[in-house]
Assembly symmetry: C2
Homo-oligomer: 266 residues x 2
Amino acid sequence: MSILSKTLQNELWDVAHALADAAGPIALQYFRTSGQDLENKLTYGFDPVTVADKAIEREMRAILAKRRPDDGVLGEEYENSTGTSGLTWVLDPIDGTRGFISGTPTWGVLIAVDAGEGPVLGLIDQPYTGERFAGGFDVASLTHNGHTRDLAVKSCADISDAIAFTTFPEVGTDAEGAAFERVAGQAKLTRYGMDCYAYALLALGQIDLVIEAGLNAYDIQGPIAVVEAAGGIVTDWQGGPAHAGGQALAASDKRVHEQALKLLNS
Amino acid sequence: MSILSKTLQNELWDVAHALADAAGPIALQYFRTSGQDLENKLTYGFDPVTVADKAIEREMRAILAKRRPDDGVLGEEYENSTGTSGLTWVLDPIDGTRGFISGTPTWGVLIAVDAGEGPVLGLIDQPYTGERFAGGFDVASLTHNGHTRDLAVKSCADISDAIAFTTFPEVGTDAEGAAFERVAGQAKLTRYGMDCYAYALLALGQIDLVIEAGLNAYDIQGPIAVVEAAGGIVTDWQGGPAHAGGQALAASDKRVHEQALKLLNS
């Protein structure tokens, strides 16, 4: 991170917030509409692509083309570009499309900047609740309707005290689901259905574990930046880097992270 | 309902809103605190009682003692009183305590008035998102940050197009869980973890089914009033009244309700 000047860091934050500012109003135009367009595209077992998703990513790419033309872009909806700056914007216009279509305010706009070895900054933005979780370059904050507070994970010495989240009870493959169940069986409480919002809750100090599988890079880079900035840990299920996607294990406390890793691999 | 005068109806609405107005700020004092008090009371498998729950119910009961002294009160936390008016206030200060403790904005303050055969009005209030869902006496509305819109369920001709919600993947007993799985297996999409908020989404026209078991009267009377006012159906799993608690099946459309009933009992 230290290779990026303070000026560049500020510029990247400005652009990241501009992207989120542009995304929110578009997402809210489509949120909680009766939208047959949305519903028709939902096929069970397949991550649905919504009209909103595409409209937001187009807008974000237009902003990046103007303000950061030399950076790469990795998005959910359109072709990737590598850029020449060594920086890549990693975008998920609407993470949690099933929640979006169902009307739950737990989806998010995910924005991250990858400097080559994972995200150096990230945002999880929830336009309906007016919450923006930010992490990177010494920032770890939640801004809610104009008020900003610091993010910090909570401590958790043992998995028997942990609150664990995952998006679906049927996590990934059968083997992955069984591995998740080994962790859930030891946790104090397991909850479902939050998508990226679960990582935001972990960064807020509310919960202890988020365990997912089958992710893409754009699903996890924003969450990694926010969780790590708040003092948490995100790895894959082997304890290695998670920023390329696949499996993710996010933890509030390294003790619980270690215990969960062991259970996932036992 | 017609036995209650318009004046009385207005009075009941005024009091119901006064209760919700009093409850919200107390709930928010305790929401997203590090609160060891809250965490210590959470035992997995047992619905946790929080400090906030009790503080809110005390305040609501104080308001009712002053403004509606002849009505009964059925609450989650304190002793029931039957009253002499034939009306009973049915109160769940925080429905979805597990979500509350986890920091998700999907719990709610539930308020209903039971005139003897179920609720004649109900509120589902979510103070963090600023949403108040109201149903009863020709009202079916969502007020969000000062803006009010009508609630109306959506149509859904077949369960293969239905979005189904329940709070836990492990619904009720093993037999109840298996019955739920028969419905979920036919639905387009199944989501978890929303508690009372799922009924609000059904009344909003976002989803089609909510299926739960093991409920108390105070968990379901507010949701029944809101869903029915929006044009939906709430019964138990045999098609009978659900307002006393136990099993609940809420549906947007009578066709999907019938299909779900058959699957639950097949």
